[in-house]
């Protein structure tokens, strides 16, 4: 499946006839053109959370220059941005704002979870005010590990995202099938956020109480 899509989007001369018939020549070329356009012009949101934000800024500077990929237009308003780079620790106090900003972005929109904190909470995972990964509330397109990731890694994440965009089938694109994706903004409660995660985008891992993992430690404890 994915291989075929690669063919559609990138190499017209190597197009198979079956593919053409299936999708229709016009449709596939429009799709390819459109994916080319939105892949080549990914405008990130000026949105820094923590340490990673500095490396995100560094990726826009002279040595690394994200502008080469057409992405130096950091838009301060979410209305004009395509990509949200969640760069750093998302605290519980900040999580509702992050979701809100995501809701304000127009479709099609993408999310890169940059750094260990945005992916899972990172070194601060055990904190009482730290969200254990932004993917609990938002659909993440590219996970970029590191603490913090180097600017080169930011560029690579952008390249991965562009490749992903090139391979999207419009009829399967949530940006077109579901209207603007707006996710519930978590509310503050006494100690935590409510809801603790968004079941549409994240499922908790299996209950570890039922897992027979680490029997040795259990025995000693």
């Amino acid at each position: 499946m994915t291989e075929q899509i690669n063919v559609v989007a990138q190499e017209v001369p190597g197009f198979t006839r079956a593919e053409l018939e299936q999708a229709g020549v016009l449709l596939s070329s429009v799709e390819g053109l459109y994916n080319w356009a939105r892949g080549g012009s990914v405008w990130p949101l000026t949105f820094g959370l923590a340490c990673c934000a500095i490396e995100m800024i560094a990726s826009a500077t002279s040595r690394f220059d994200i502008a080469r990929f057409g992405s130096e237009v950091f838009r301060p308003s979410p209305r004009q941005a395509d990509l949200m780079i969640v760069s750093g620790t998302v605290t519980k106090k900040m999580a509702p704002q992050v979701v809100r900003i995501y809701n304000q972005m127009p479709e099609p929109k993408w999310v890169i979870a940059m750094g260990a904190c945005a992916i899972s909470g990172g070194p601060f995972k055990q904190g009482y005010n730290v969200l254990k990964g932004i993917d609990r509330y938002l659909p993440v397109d590219v996970y970029l590990p590191g603490c913090p990731p180097r600017p080169e890694a930011v560029l690579q994440a952008l390249n991965y995202l562009q490749e992903k965009i090139l391979n999207i089938r419009i009829e399967q694109d949530p940006a077109f099938t579901a209207g603007r994706r707006q996710y519930p903004v978590p509310r503050f409660t006494g100690t935590d956020l409510e809801p603790p995660y968004n079941p549409e985008v994240w499922r908790p891992p299996a209950n570890p109480n039922t897992e027979p993992a680490r029997p040795k430690k259990a025995a000693t404890a």
Binding site: G48, L49, A50, A53, T61, S62, T91, F124, Q126
Partner: protein, 384 residues
Amino acid sequence: MSAAAATAAASYSLVRQPAMETGLLEVSMGPHHPSTHGVFRMDVRLDGETVVALKPVFGYLHRNHEKLAEGMSYLASMPFTDRLDYFNSMTNNWAYALAAEQLLPIEVPERAQYLRVIMAELTRLVNHTSLVGFFLNDLGALGTPLLYAFRERERILDLFEQASGARMMCNYFRFGGLRCDVPEGWLARARAVVDAFPRFLDEFEKLLCENEIVLARTQRVGVLSGAQAVNAGITGPMLRASGVNYDLRKVDRYGIYERFAFRVPLGSAGDCYDRFMIRLLEMRESLKILDAALRDIPTGPVMGNAPRVFKPAASETYGRVESPKGELGFYLIADGTTKPYRYRVRPPSFINLTVLEDLCVGHTIADAVVILGSVDIVLGEVDR
């Protein structure tokens, strides 16, 4: 109510302030705003463009640093200190190492002392150049000064990377010395960076210091008097811009700073321009220290005879250094175990924000952004 007042009230109802007869506009700047340097929020009340009241709101990056540190061994907190003020991991390391070394006295070898000074002063260069860049960004200079600053920053980060293995989060200091010696040829490369730096500073100063718009935008904006600054616990370049001669490198003489000849630049007006200039001038003095330190550095080990398990007796200590942002202190209470009973960071940029409202009220919203920029905050440290 007259007709004019009625129209005025009707027009203000558009911005959803039905209760306010005075027509103030409440704007919540942040936590996502291009100029709050992270996730900081200012609840601003505006009369036209003039700030009438400003309330800072913190905590959007409160990552429970102190609580986490109380649950782990002393040394395990070292990488977390990197992430406090993520521009200045080296000075953060040093402040923590300094506090811990007061708990359990360990001799730091000579070479390590020199390397600590070198790293700290390089960090100061990194911080001050970046700050000046961000400050100009807040003034509306579309990134060019920032990119020039980051170009120089990259050169210093290369040095950090060669020494410690990481660009930003160096985790280079240890109780009683440094994690490892610098690689061969590092000192020569550092020398090259330090020698090339004044040229960049000349260029930068030529670009910025006499720029008519910079002068007009920063002079007499956000004036802070010396007495007010001391009372509000302001430290670092911001305090010295108000004319108070208080540099911990001179006052506490920690490390081996008494061996270096350097001067402390002092401002006179205490406005944004002074805060900006003091940082530029401090970089020149840092270069003097670096110059001497790179010349005099001896050979030898970089790690003292630190105990394998760091287990100080029950005691309390407060260690502080002159971080580029101000006085960075660590207050540790040991209870005889391998973990600190209480671990507290005294964050300079957090306390420097105490006077933010006083500085901003009466100025325009554009000035508020500039004043915040001149305070030089990093949210990792403000909220911890």
